[in-house]
Amino acid sequence: MAGSRKGPTARALGRFANNRVALLGLVAFVLILAAILTYPLWWAYSPNQIDLRALNKGPSASHWFGTDGVGRDVLARLMQGGRISLLVAITSVAVSLVIGFLVGAVSSFSGRVLDGAIMRLVDLAMTLPPVILLLVLASIVGTGIVPTIAVISLLSWPVLSRMVRARLLELRERDFVVAARGMGAGMGHLLFRHGLPNCIDILVVYATLQIANAILLEAGLSFLGLGIAPPEASWGNMLNAARSTSVLEQYVWQWMFPGAALVITLLAINFVGDGLRDAFDPRSDLQ
């Protein structure tokens, strides 16, 4: 009896496990996550501990990554910033996943008119220049974790809803769906019994890649002075210091470490996301 009896998800995971680059990314991400979550256990300094006598000191035995403009330890702020950045990214992706899936799925399973209306609304959301939405929303809600999550989620869900709707549109006409509706299945049943399982792969790939995007977006917002404001640490607002040429030249450690952390984390997530996309692609089996 030849042939694998594994289901499609198991097969996909198997393909993923064979992808060395994706595994590397996963390992790197897990390591970073571990470091970020556990740093108070192995590092003495706290991210908001100022020390006016140790301003702008370079990396040394006591401050491995140096100190910033008020004497705060850069490594501690890097770890704390990582927590904030990842928290914001993951939460906003979760929120936009939920909104995007619901809007796209409901739209695809609804009648023509409702579908059209919802999609026009989505178009409206996409026509708005993201710049404006970003800046205006951010100035309305102010800085901070919750507002930043709100802004990033609101920017990301329209694209997902379109992808979900496209995928589910083909499903709408299939027999089992028609049968289910004929038997009186409600929207909830359609969404979660039929819609969700068929979208898992798009959702997973989208989620992974969107986390990378959300981290970038949060960094950009904080860099612009919106997003997360000091004295809270975030990788984006630590990079804000690099605007000044004197910091760029003289206090390299203050921006290079957050920059490197950002790039490495994004690389890791992109590797994983890429690997997942390849893994879920049914044509990869035919080599």
């Binding site: 409206l124 800046l135 960094a219 760029l248 950002l262 790039v263």
Partner: protein, 319 residues
Amino acid sequence: MLPYILRRLATGLLMLVALSILVFVLLRLAPGDPIDAYVNPNVAMSQAEMAALRARLGFDQPLPVQYLAWLRAAATGDLGFSIQRNGVRVLPLVLERIGPTVLLMAAGLAIAIVLGIAAGILSAVRRNSPTDIGFSVVAFFGISSPAFLTAILGLYLFSVVLRWAPSGGMLTPGAPFSISDLLAHLVLPACLLSIGHAALIMRYMRASLLEVLNQDYVRTARAKGVKEFWVIMKHAVRNALLPVVTLIGSTIGIAVGGAIFIESVFNWPGMGLLLINAVDTRDYPVIMGATLIIGACVIVVNLLTDMAYAAVDPRIQVA
């Protein structure tokens, strides 16, 4: 076709009105109005004076009245005056920013397309070789680097340290207009802008070409004895280009808003910088006007793209 176009344009117009209402409401929700932006907190002004200024600009009217006044004027093509830059009319201001925006995005995209496609082809052809791995690594870095960081580093390295490029702006102040001056100012921001896009295009090109190279007709061409170079260039690449073209198309759609980080770091007079400045100073007329124009552009571009798809692929029906 014609009824379809008309229908799309009509819906587009409705969307523009809805968009303007949305932006109007959002702006009024944001704390602070244009007069608040005008006053320097270090050199205080009395509230009575500020109220007088507001009354002159019509901000003491009820909100629906203000909006309708704006809408009525906009319908006749009068988008009002910028508050922050007194005396400057909004419509010419916004229209004169479209040129530099398009220039920057086009230059950046052109560089990205050339680099991305070339690198993608090389990578696919020399799959898993050092070239491929090298390009892939660079591409991943390109996707993973924050745009503002590369912009600042690029500016510092190429302008302040090496002095190879000017430090910002579109033309040398005071100098008569010359193409070489414009190009000199365009080079650095366009290159930095192209990094992210080139990386993405390269990866899509590579994936798409790899898929195509496995197809039967490629094998046939090789069997027929066609030179490898032409197999790739004439047969494979052309078919592999479709997803890349889709990608480029969607990038253009976003392009009209301007590349805010690059424009901000390089002070490039495009839409992005205009919007940032306008939101910073709560310049309501400029924000409303710019949003209207950008929205109109996006709608028109979307319509044209959909029509192009219909023309190219007969399987797609638009009507």
